[in-house]
């Protein structure tokens, strides 16, 4: 079967600058040019910078229709991987072949403007996440019904309750139908009833033959949604397989590190 995504040996390197996370000032660059006139300054390589491999040599293939969970501890590189697959950042090494449109929902309500009305924000947010205007127009009624905000369509979203705001944002996102969908913990919004609705929607998306990537800390929803899980630890792909096996190893890693940190406290 032709895979829909093929990831070949991608690595991502970041420069961690010594003075926190800020760009160098012009003065620093000028000074270092005067001091070391022949040193190559490729913008990042100022002396003392630390290199950090956020991802190292990750390869895998995904078939159309798979729902893949990505799990791992904080800072393991899950989001970096998702950002590379969504084309937000580029890998330092390696290649990814995409055989379909990618839509990414790394945050809910990207580009919502508080002063614009619900209606206007649906169109704006739709355009930002990659929907065509025509597509939004056709799905408009469904989006509104899903979000349950019919009465407040003309109200600026800054007057929305936070629940309404999130519901609207998720509704737009849920009606975006790319062949490959990237989700970063976005299901964790709203009350239980709404969460259930979202989960249902996501299941439907995968039934339609779309490929979904789902990053989460919540093993419960990963188990419910995903057929396959990638476990990432310290930038490396530790395990790739069936949901049950991989989530068991994840739990083992977490409990091990908890034990060791408990011991170090003692």
């Amino acid at each position: 079967m032709q895979p829909i995504i093929q990831v070949r040996n991608i690595s991502k390197q970041y420069f961690v600058e010594r003075s926190s996370n800020v760009a160098p000032t012009l003065r620093e660059v000028l000074m270092s040019t005067i001091k070391f006139p022949f040193k190559s300054r490729n913008g990042n390589g100022a002396n003392g910078d630390e290199l950090l491999w956020a991802l190292r040599d990750i390869s895998f293939k995904v078939d159309p229709g798979e729902v893949i969970g990505i799990i791992g501890r904080n800072g393991a590189g899950k989001s970096t991987l998702l950002k590379i697959l969504s084309r937000i950042i580029k890998p330092t090494v390696g290649e990814v072949d995409l055989y379909g449109r990618v839509g990414s929902l790394l945050a809910i309500g990207t580009g919502f403007h508080p002063d614009l009305s619900g209606r206007e924000n649906i169109f704006l947010n739709g355009a930002i996440i990659g929907m065509k205007r025509e597509e939004v127009r056709r799905k408009f009624d469904d989006i509104v019904a899903f979000a349950e905000v019919e009465r407040f369509l003309e109200t600026p979203v800054k007057y929305y309750s936070s629940g309404m705001y999130l519901r609207l944002a998720f509704a737009v996102a849920a009606h975006f139908e790319p062949e490959i969908l990237m989700l970063d913990e976005v299901l964790a919004v709203g009350d239980t009833a709404f969460q259930k609705k979202c989960l249902e929607k996501m299941k439907q998306v995968s039934r339609d033959g779309r490929t979904v990537f789902f990053v989460s800390h919540d093993l419960m929803s990963v188990r419910q949604l995903c057929s396959r899980v990638l476990l990432i630890e310290a930038g490396q792909l530790l395990e790739d397989g069936k949901t049950e096996t991989v989530s068991a190893s994840y739990l083992r890693i977490v409990s091990q590190s908890e034990n060791s940190s408990a011991e170090s406290i003692r």
């Binding site: 055989y99 990659g130 139908e177």
Partner: protein, 379 residues
């Protein structure tokens, strides 16, 4: 499969994965059909009945629409998912059968390949063109929000250069006894301040546009060049509004427009290109070096006084003029004024500025795409 008297076409192998369809078994009467990619629109006609068969694949779900050319004929549309679907035969005398077969075992090229380094500038520009609808929405958002928030709304667009004109008129014309060629100083200054306001406002907002939109840029992919471009787009709307006010001012002073007005669109394009280049350049520089943001207001001020905005080019000493005209704003602002107020054109300055603008625009595109990704890592 082919009903008697009907036109038939068969869309074979619509590959979901490759997003590519292959046409096969075409009825000889159906012409103009080609195989292609999903992003292209397939349009073919049945030569006998004149039926127009349109398959609009703007989305994942391919839909085929068959529209009668005679008007009033029923439209058949069939939604196609991953299985074979045949549209039901119509009661209409001209029956059309559409069949779409999905398969995913043909070898295909990836839709996109993510790899280190930048793509060719043309590829990037094409990508930006594909996302033009988003550009429209970004411009629309900014205009809408601005006109909602400020009390005076659209009036500010006119008031800003007008108030500056007032200040300069009082100081230079009344107190300093400036001579502004043959037109009243107020009109002279305003005609220069309108394009200048466009330029300076775009550059100062544009320079912080990438930083200001960090939240969107780090969460979703789209061509980043659209962000500074949207800023310039918003200011371009302002420019057009301010120009309308200028015509009002000219009416008040009894200045007639001449044939030079025909040059105005050219000058607007030229100034937009220059503004776009400078804005996107600073938008990246501003992330690379923190102090660019602090330096910029000074630079803009300096640029203003080295351009013939509040004084005529005539005041610049003859032997300095060639050097002075290397500032691309010289040709543009003089050009605006000549075109609007019917003064003689300084063609040399306009051409010099056009050449410099194009060269600079080329450099900035190169620069932007070279640094874009490295800069995004820092956000």
């Amino acid at each position: 499969m082919t009903p008697a008297g009907g036109a038939s076409f068969c869309l074979r192998r619509f590959s979901f994965v490759c997003r590519r369809y292959v046409l096969a078994d075409l009825h000889p009467r159906v012409s103009g059909c080609r195989s292609g990619t999903v992003d292209s629109r397939l349009l073919c006609t049945d030569s006998a009945s004149g039926l127009c068969i349109e398959i609009d694949q703007s989305e994942t779900i391919a839909r085929s629409k068959l529209n009668g050319s005679g008007g009033g004929r029923p439209t058949i549309s069939c939604a196609v998912s991953e299985k074979i679907m045949t549209s039901p035969a119509q009661t209409n005398p001209s029956v059309v059968t559409a069949e779409i077969v999905l398969s995913s075992n043909s070898p295909c090229e990836p839709l996109f390949r993510i790899k280190p380094g930048r793509s060719a500038i043309l590829v990037e520009l094409k990508e930006a063109w594909v996302h033009r609808e988003l550009l429209y929405f970004l411009i629309w958002r900014d205009l809408k929000v601005r006109y909602q928030q400020t009390v005076l709304g659209v009036a500010w667009v006119v008031l800003q250069p007008l108030l500056m004109t007032l200040v300069f008129t009082i100081f230079f014309s009344k107190l300093g006894h400036f001579h502004s060629d043959s037109v009243p100083y107020a009109v002279f200054a305003y005609a220069g301040l309108v394009p200048w306001t466009f330029f300076s406002n775009s550059v100062s907002t544009g320079s912080s546009s990438l930083i200001g939109n960090t939240y969107i840029i780090t969460k979703v992919y789209f061509p980043r060049l659209l962000i500074p471009t949207a800023v310039v787009g918003v200011r371009l709307v302002d420019l057009l509004v301010a120009l309308v006010a200028l015509f009002g001012l000219m009416l008040f002073y009894g200045i007639r427009v001449g044939p030079g007005l025909l040059m105005l669109p050219v000058l607007i394009v030229e100034s937009t290109l220059l503004t776009l280049a400078v804005s996107s350049w600073f938008s990246v520089l501003n992330i690379r070096y923190r102090d660019v943001g602090t330096l910029l207001p000074v630079l803009i001020q300096l640029w203003m006084f080295t351009s013939p905005i509040i004084y005529p080019l005539r005041l610049v000493p003859e032997n300095w003029r060639s050097l002075y005209s290397l500032n691309p704003l010289v040709g543009i602002i003089e050009g605006f004024r000549s075109s609007l107020l019917g003064l003689p054109f300084n063609w040399k300055a306009i051409i010099v500025s056009a050449v410099i603008t194009l060269l600079f625009q080329g450099y900035v595109l190169f620069f932007f795409y070279r640094w874009e990704d490295r800069v995004i890592d820092k956000l």
